[in-house]
């Protein structure tokens, strides 16, 4: 998919050389259509032998029985991996997919502006971070902001929500748990950033160009993933100084959702053995380190991070810490829709329609409705 599909052919000749008789045919899917194309392919019995899938889709693909579980000989592929990422690939205790590359969101910030405001690094608690943001905003001016939280993206609020002790879903993941004290605290924190003028009330579509605005100091903190490292390196002027930092939590360094892609072999494939060979090849730490150089994707195998090309990049360092604190999101097929609804409610809360408590209750109501089918299936022992 996307960048990976463009670049994976560069490393495949080696695989084909090592495994004569296996020819790999790569199909590219655009990221925006990949999820739905895979499901259509499943419905039409035309899935490939194996594919890359977004970590959040694994549960969905497993629920419909499309994925071939890991054979015992492939067990060693699961060592040397980030635990939270691995956890997203485990359905009902069984591993079904192999992490390929990982990502997670953390803070990109203007180190120069933060320094001018009197902070050497990003404070790692919510309170401290907010103080730092106020300091930045005081220097930057009333017409500027401190942090960009696009109202149509759920990832930022989800990251705040993951800091809480309580899980996001309860009753075996059949009901929403968004009115828990810890999630309401996250909602309140999120809302306060807008109320106190630290974040602009805007959706991503209204911000024409993130790089220019970041460069101009319209905002100094930006939540994003590893792909932004390359973009910032290419697009920002060299004199603009910036850095990456772990996500602050309520009382200390916070968690975030593990992202990235895993490799799955499909049940419908007649060439299981060859498919697993390819998974093994792509999971090799050395191959992954090379792939990182080509694409910027962060390798899934922890030992690949020791390769100089990965280890020496100052911007990547924060990701390592953040990934070790990553926390898997609930593994229900409805998750994608639930967070979409969550963000719709959150946007209304920011615009003043709900209090954080009322918003939590409203998200629960919507989540419960989306999970109704799941409860019914559970009662019948089918899920």
């Amino acid at each position: 998919m996307g960048n990976e599909a463009t670049n994976v052919p560069q490393i495949l000749p080696e695989f084909e050389r090592l495994n004569p008789g296996i020819k790999v045919d790569v199909q590219a899917l655009p990221w925006t259509a990949a999820h739905q194309k895979l499901l259509t392919a499943y419905a039409g019995d035309s899935l490939p032998d194996l594919s890359q899938v977004g970590n959040t889709w694994v549960s969905e693909m497993a629920a419909i029985g499309a994925i071939s579980p890991l054979p015992s000989v492939a067990g060693d592929l699961l060592t040397d991996q980030f635990p939270a990422v691995l956890e997203t690939n485990r359905i009902d205790g069984r591993p079904v997919a192999t992490p390929w590359y990982v990502d997670t969101r953390l803070l990109f910030y203007r180190s120069d502006l933060l320094e001018q405001a009197g902070h050497g690094a990003v404070p790692q608690t919510w309170v401290g971070w907010k103080e730092a943001m106020h300091a930045v905003k005081r220097r930057a001016g009333a017409d500027k902001f401190a942090v960009l939280l696009p109202l149509n993206e759920f990832e930022q609020l989800l990251t705040f929500g993951l800091q809480g002790e309580e899980p996001l879903l309860k009753d075996e993941d059949t009901r929403g748990n968004f009115s828990s004290a810890s999630f309401v605290a996250a909602l309140a924190f999120y809302k306060s950033l807008f109320d106190e003028g630290l974040a602009p009330v805007a959706s991503a579509a209204q911000i024409s160009n993130v790089w220019t605005e970041f460069e101009r100091g319209w905002f100094s903190f930006y939540f994003s993933g590893p792909w932004t490292i390359g973009e910032f390196k290419n697009r920002l002027k060299p004199e603009t100084r910036w850095m990456t930092s772990g996500v602050p939590g309520p009382t200390g360094p916070g968690a975030s959702a593990p992202g990235g892609s895993s490799l799955v072999v499909y049940r419908s494939s007649p060439r299981q053995e060859a498919a697993w060979k390819l998974v093994r090849f792509l999971s090799d730490p050395a191959v992954q380190a090379r792939f990182n150089v080509i694409t910027g994707d962060l390798p899934a195998r922890e030992s690949a991070w020791a390769t100089p090309s990965v280890a020496d990049d100052p911007y990547i360092a924060a990701f390592k810490g953040q990934l070790s604190r990553a926390k898997a999101v609930p593994k229900v097929p409805e998750w994608e829709r639930i967070v979409t609804e969550m963000q719709i409610v959150a946007e209304r809360m920011v615009r003043g329609e709900y209090t954080p408590e009322a918003a939590g209750a409203e998200i629960d109501r919507r989540a419960d409705r989306l999970l109704e089918k799941r409860r019914w299936m559970m009662e019948r022992g089918r899920a």
Binding site: T32, H35, Q36, L39, T40, Y42, A43, E60, A63, I64, G65, N152, S203, A205, Q206, S208, P333, R337, I344, R369, K373, W376, M377, R382, A383
Partner: protein, 319 residues
Amino acid sequence: MTDVRLNMAKVEAEAAAPPRRRPGTALSRERAAWGFVAPALIAIGVFFAIPVFAALLLSLTDFDIYALADLHNVRFVGLQNYERLFANPLFWGAMKNTGLFAVLGVPLSIAASLAAAVILNARVVKWRPLWRVMFFAPYVTTLVATAVLWNYLLHTRYGVINWAIASVGLPPVDWLGQPENSIPAILMFVVWKIFGYNMLIFLAVLQTVPDDLYEAARIDGAGAWKRFTNVTLPAIAPTLLLVSIISVAGFFQLFAEPYVMTQGGPAQSTVTVLYFMYEEGFKWWNLGSASAVAFVLFICILAVTLVQLAVAKRMGAYE
């Protein structure tokens, strides 16, 4: 699609006429006739009629991704899909956008068609057949390809359209990036693509208007605008009305334009009903609720068509 609708009034009138009976119809002739129509009827039955009825049933179930994996996971839910749909702001957003497309697009496209037809109809215009084909050409081009093309024409920084705007001293417009501009931007493309179709229809009707009428009006001292309102408009009024209603049905079915140009964005401002159905069905795999969307769309189109039929009957347009 459009041709079909115009055709209907006439076809219906014919179907209602009593069949002429002739004696001596041989059994073999009847058999041959069935041989001729059977393949088409079976195909229509299997691939059209059954799916449409199945869609109605499907809209009363919660057919979803679980059901796709195992048919036992389907439940009959009555009208619940419809209830939820009517409580879903995104659905109403799609209805509103579709309505906006129709309300803005129909007058715009018809005005363009009519203007082009009136100009082409003038006797002093040379090479009329050439222009006629030229103006019609965008209509037969592949929608997806020209939508991709217009994406670049509408580009905020490098687009030719903003270049034209800038050359008269106006600031550039973020056509496809701002919710309030996205519908007009797509409409520019749609009008460019389809105006030739209705233009041909208007031109055909205008050519039946005798030149004497214009001459008489001119002798009476009527100016160009007067001649247009007094002679042209009355002559094409029935066609104009029919074509407008038909165009509404066409605008109800926009899909590829937002799919290619904006993917429904920005801020869901170009999600049409059909796009909404596609996402509900083939992105989220809620086939039950997607079928309910399809039926709501059907009711809307049916309502427009019934209005069209009523108008056609009153005006005797199919005589």
